[in-house]
């Protein structure tokens, strides 16, 4: 049985991976699985967010709906939206 898919919004600096799309769909029951699916769809994207130790990079934040998270293994449902946020520097 395929994993449920959820909506993922993509921060502007990461959209070079999604061909400019501000939101995409990805499959997974946890954020970890969603990130793995994103990597399948958009090679190289996960490494921009997650370091070699599997930690969220310090200029990246990930939110489920309105709450920023640190635990990538929190459960997701198809009603959830995962938000990929990135520090911006422009002024």
């Amino acid at each position: 049985m395929p994993s449920p898919s959820c909506n993922v919004t993509v921060a502007s600096p990461l959209r070079s991976y999604t061909k400019g799309a501000s939101s995409v769909t990805a499959c997974g029951t946890t954020v970890t699985e969603v990130l793995a699916d994103l990597e399948q769809q958009f090679p190289g994207m996960r490494f921009r967010m997650i370091d070699e130790q599997g930690r969220i990079r310090e200029h990246i934040r990930i939110a489920i709906n309105t709450q920023m998270i640190n635990d990538l293994n929190l459960p997701l449902t198809s009603r959830d939206t995962v938000h990929l946020l990135c520090a911006l520097s422009g002024g």
């Binding site: 600096p13 200029h59 938000h83 946020l85 520090a87 520097s89």
Partner: protein, 376 residues
């Protein structure tokens, strides 16, 4: 601080707001607000703060007005090009409202002056365009216990939040460290929709006015994001980190520190100078070289090195098959930032025979060939 007859007339629309009234206007008159950066964000926030009657406004910016600023930096006119931003901004605000005091700080904010400058103000608005300055301003605000209204923009997206000392998370709680190698480019390299900072800068002015008057609630522990393309606002809750380097339980940053350029761009190990590039291009080894200009096509069209091919950084991921593993690959861009990122992207797919030109075509223009057209 009582209001004069002239001020009562000028701010009458504020006075008509029951929630605001004379008391609110008097608080604005007594307030001292510092705006860091008189750019896209600083322009609208400064104009609205001056118009609203904030009694003392400081402007920090050491840059000069460039023609490319006028697309979004509404403080300035074409006559201001080449002039000091902070000085011209102060002049504009004084023309708008001569009842307030405006101070231009025509200096680059650094670890040695940030505390003394910020200490003269009640609230700080950060509208700068460099990560290093963002962290410097945040740390100084935490150390001085000054509220900070922060915003940043990128292409069509912006974000804002407000730090209140002792009551919520700071910028380092949100993003503990800046991206390695400046992976998130600024407006000069990524481009920006001109009206975007108008929205975010106005939000910053609104937050400052609410902080001063005590009205409403501010973005304390909430990151507000705005996507101009989708015309969508969103907000995300975040908390203070107990291990935050500056506001945490055991802070490691106890005086302002500057994130050096080397820290901002730690991966410039593959950098070569423009003189080295010139030697490569004129030497017998030129045939072994693949020179790739990673700027956008519209920049490439203005001027480029004749030996170069154009693969924009934004498309490099999907065009790595064009990289010739059997030749030395040299990436070049405007200032040397995107070319560093190109080296990193190539390394991710196992291509390590790369170099980037430090200082980019701007440096080439200054040191090798001034006839090469390279947009600033």
């Amino acid at each position: 601080m009582s209001l004069s007859t002239q001020e009562l007339a000028r701010y009458s629309r504020h006075l008509s707001l029951n929630e605001f009234g004379i008391a609110g206007q008097e608080k604005l008159k007594a307030a001292k607000v510092l705006v860091v950066g008189a750019g896209g964000l600083g322009s609208p926030s400064l104009l609205y703060l001056a118009a609203a009657g904030v009694g003392a406004i400081g402007i920090v910016d050491f840059d000069k007005v460039d023609i490319s600023n006028l697309q979004r930096q509404v403080l300035f006119t074409a006559d201001d090009v080449g002039q000091s931003k902070s000085v011209m901004a102060a002049k504009r605000l004084t023309a708008l409202n001569s009842l307030i005091k405006v101070t231009a700080h025509d200096v680059e904010l650094n670890a040695s002056n940030v505390m003394s400058i910020l200490s003269n103000y009640d609230i700080v608005i950060d509208g700068c365009d460099r990560f290093a300055t963002r962290y410097l301003v945040n740390d100084a605000c935490v150390l001085l216990r000054k509220p900070l209204v922060s915003a940043a923009i990128h292409r069509f997206e912006g974000q804002a939040f407000t730090y209140i000392p002792g009551q919520g998370p700071c910028y380092r709680c949100l993003f503990p460290e800046q991206p390695a190698g400046d992976l998130v480019p600024n407006c000069a390299t990524a481009g920006v929709l001109g009206v975007l900072p108008g929205i975010l800068g106005t939000i910053q002015a609104t937050e400052a006015i609410k902080l001063i008057t005590g009205l409403g609630s501010v973005l304390n522990g909430r990151l507000l994001t705005y996507d101009a393309l989708d015309m969508r606002f969103a907000e995300f809750e975040f908390s203070r980190r107990h291990d935050c380097a500056v506001c945490g339980d055991a802070p490691t940053i106890t005086t302002p520190i500057e994130q050096s350029a080397a820290c901002a761009s730690p991966s410039d190990e593959a950098g070569i100078t423009t003189a080295e590039l010139q030697m490569l291009l004129t030497g017998l080894v030129a045939a072994d070289l693949q020179l790739i200009d990673v700027r956008d096509p519209h920049e490439f069209a203005v001027g480029h090195l004749p030996q170069s091919i154009n693969i924009p950084l934004s498309t490099l991921d999907s065009q790595v098959h064009l990289l010739n593993r059997n030749r030395r690959i040299v990436f070049v861009c405007r200032s040397g930032m995107r070319s560093q990122q190109a080296c990193a992207i190539a390394a991710q797919v196992g291509i390590f025979n790369t170099a980037n030109v430090s200082g980019g075509l701007q440096q080439w223009n200054q040191t090798v060939d001034s006839t090469l057209h390279c947009p600033l």
